[in-house]
Symmetry: C2
Subunit: 444 residues, 2 copies
């Protein structure tokens, strides 16, 4: 038995009552036993006085493998961003570089209080991402990127229909449910334009059979919307034609969907991931997030890949999600801090079908819990303002003090318990050089 007592913090529980109170959280064998707790003893006691205690953040659209390419794809139109950078770089990954990219992305997320992510990798070397996830202690739903249809100029990154499905099934069988359920598999067809009808139908059937998620880009680019409209189609209607919508479909971006499609999303309980930084950075547009929430669509948050952001930082995504919709709707009251924080925690858990296990601090839930320092100058005065406002607008990743995933302490006093940051930094530095050279981008 292994027990942790987090004492004296201001707990923002994100339970159905949205409890915010001073109190102690008691964890045993990876499960939250009581909150508030009256216990006095545990194997490990964490002093959270003057700190906030929150459920860990859940990011629902990440590309771990792209973390290696941070800052390498700047000031390009989105077509060039993909064709000149992202696809050649992903194609040039080797098993070790992908492993380093995944380790870096996971470490950055843990440092900033993210305890779980839904991540779509590239067409190859997905085992490396799973190895990094398993070792790190991080919770993740991950999948190999599927791409059996591609356009002129993007041949460097593709695969046959059979290979795509065979490799996905191999990975699913190898990793789904591993580490006592901390690791799960998701089918990750890249987007409506990257997958044949045949593969879509196979994916939908297999996802249904195995009870797992499908994660896909949708409505991220105007160009794709224009192209489909020439065939009298739209992206979500296309997805419906192959039977994809449903509670296990998580769509990243959802910008270029019409109002009827948003209604169809709500009706089918299809989930949306909002990626504000990335949507701005590559000029995709602004998703109608308050409108989706009003319709009853579950919207959660994700940083997307590092080259489109350039961070994997939930504090940045929360702040932006709170800010950018206000002038568009001419309404200062839209997207209050409480809504944004729900998207970042319990909303993310719902997207993954895991809201019975994570996303809030409640007895019986898995112990994915973070402690956040609130004494920084940028958060003073700290006793009069709403803790949710502090989290969404004032605090930062560097304020995260302690991170617990599945009852294991991964970060303590801002330091990693089991990660050699210097080794990671130097391994990442040599991996990126190797990949850039292989992609003929060494002189970038």
């Amino acid at each position: 038995m292994n027990s942790i007592l987090i004492r004296n913090g201001v707990v923002v529980a994100m339970d159905p009552a949205r409890t915010i109170t001073h109190g102690d959280v008691y964890i045993e064998d990876g499960v939250i036993q009581e909150f508030p707790s009256k216990r006095q003893k545990a194997d490990e006691v964490i002093d959270a006085a003057d700190k906030l205690v929150l459920p860990g953040f859940v990011q629902t659209h990440i590309h771990l493998n792209q973390t290696l390419f941070r800052g390498l794809s700047e000031d390009l139109v989105v077509e060039d961003w993909l064709r000149l950078r992202i696809w050649p770089l992903e194609q040039a990954h080797d098993a070790e570089s992908l492993y380093d990219a995944a380790r870096l992305g996971i470490a950055e997320m843990i440092r900033g209080g993210t305890t779980c992510a839904l991540t779509n990798e590239t067409v190859q070397h997905t085992d490396s991402a799973f190895e990094a996830i398993i070792e790190s202690g991080f919770r993740a739903v991950a999948g190999k990127m599927m791409m059996d249809r591609w356009e002129v100029g993007t041949e460097m990154l593709g695969e046959t229909t059979d290979d795509s499905m065979r490799e996905s099934m191999r990975l699913l069988e190898k990793y789904h449910g591993r580490e006592n359920g901390r690791v799960s598999y998701a089918f990750c067809p890249r987007g409506t334009r990257n997958i044949t009808d045949e593969l879509w139908r196979d994916v939908v059937q297999a996802a249904d059979e195995h009870g797992i998620l499908i994660h896909c880009h949708c409505g991220d680019g105007k160009a794709q919307t224009v192209r489909l409209s020439q065939e009298s189609l739209t992206e979500f209607r296309y997805l419906e034609s192959v039977g994809a919508p449903g509670p296990n479909l998580v769509l990243a971006h959802c910008i270029w969907l019409d109002d009827e499609e948003l209604g169809m999303m709500a009706e089918s309980d299809t989930k949306a991931t909002h990626c504000p930084s990335a949507n701005l950075k590559v000029a995709s547009g602004l998703a109608k997030v308050p409108e989706m929430l009003e319709l009853g669509v579950n919207v959660s948050l994700g940083a997307d890949g590092a080259p489109a952001n350039n961070n994997l930082d939930m504090f940045m995504e929360m702040r932006l999600a709170g800010l950018i919709h206000k002038p568009r709707l001419d309404d200062e009251r839209t997207m209050p801090a409480s809504t944004v924080l729900e998207m970042a925690t319990i909303g993310g858990a719902r997207a993954l079908g895991m809201d019975d296990k994570i996303g809030s601090i409640e007895a019986g839930k898995l112990a994915d819990v973070i402690v956040v320092e609130r004494g920084g100058l940028h958060n003073q005065p700290m006793d009069e303002s709403d803790p949710m406002t502090q989290v969404v607008y004032q605090l930062r990743s560097s304020d995260v003090d302690t991170v617990i995933v599945d009852g294991n302490i991964l970060l303590r006093d801002g330091e990693f318990v089991n990660l050699d940051v210097n080794e990671l930094r130097s391994s990442v530095a040599s991996s990126v050089k190797r990949v850039m050279k292989r992609a003929n981008l060494a002189d970038l």
Copy 2:
């Protein structure tokens, strides 16, 4: 004689050639002597290996006194934000609470690499802001807020025309040019709607006579634009009617100006301050920043007051300034990192008429220099990407390692040299309680 040698950093000089190079910076008696320097010795040697060296950031729209009200004015329409919170709270300030607010704002800015600010205070207790500035070592252009015309419901914050001008002149004479030029005075009429024609004319004449800045809100609210249009007026045309435009006029926000007015700004060399966080937070809209830059308007950056942000953080403002204009113009290439960093440094210096003294690292300029750590996980890999991209999109206030203003080291290894942070925190906590009680907002 007092000398500092900053060694081995990657220097992003922001000089006319936009030099980025490995090299040493040598400072003597507050003045940059050489860059690159070959010296080996100095009174103080700062090791900047693997770090960036930059000119300190210059924020050109701040309300120091509002730092005390961080997080106290959330989710309100802008009229209520002003009438129910900002004005009663500003009115309730005492000399000590304003001093604490100013100390907090200055400390937060120094911690995040801002070395100079243009700040407009409230109608009273402006001496306290100057005391805090003088003590801190920070460089500032500050002024008392002028408000001799006010609307129904806002009577709590106003003054007579005579009193406004008399108090401004007293402060100008007392503080302008103090501390060897580190402290300057600016006339701060709150906005077109808050000042009588008579006071505007007095301000314009006195500013001209004394060679000082006028700093004012303009084009921040749709409501004001609508109101003036009923009198066949617009805000900038009104300013022209009282003779205000010119190189010494710095206008915060500039959102609701028409294209002709933007042309008039360029022609008169009137300066614009872009405040992206605040403009989003109170739903003011998006200033046409790329368009202003194209016309030749000098645009710099500022955080505005903490209640509208909720930070005084140049890294946040830079990142937002880089991001938010891209989807509006459907152009990923607008606002490249180099443009944003210019706005944050030399652009700010130009706004203050101080670009011959600060805003870049060049021999003969005053030593307002910062050193920024770039080893954080959120900035890896760090050797392949553009340092300007790193500053604008990847680094954060918590990465600032060393801050030098006027040749004095104010922050070293992330720690304040001459500030007791615990004393400040507790003094701020009691001041805010006192002010909230006096403003009848104790039960907020």
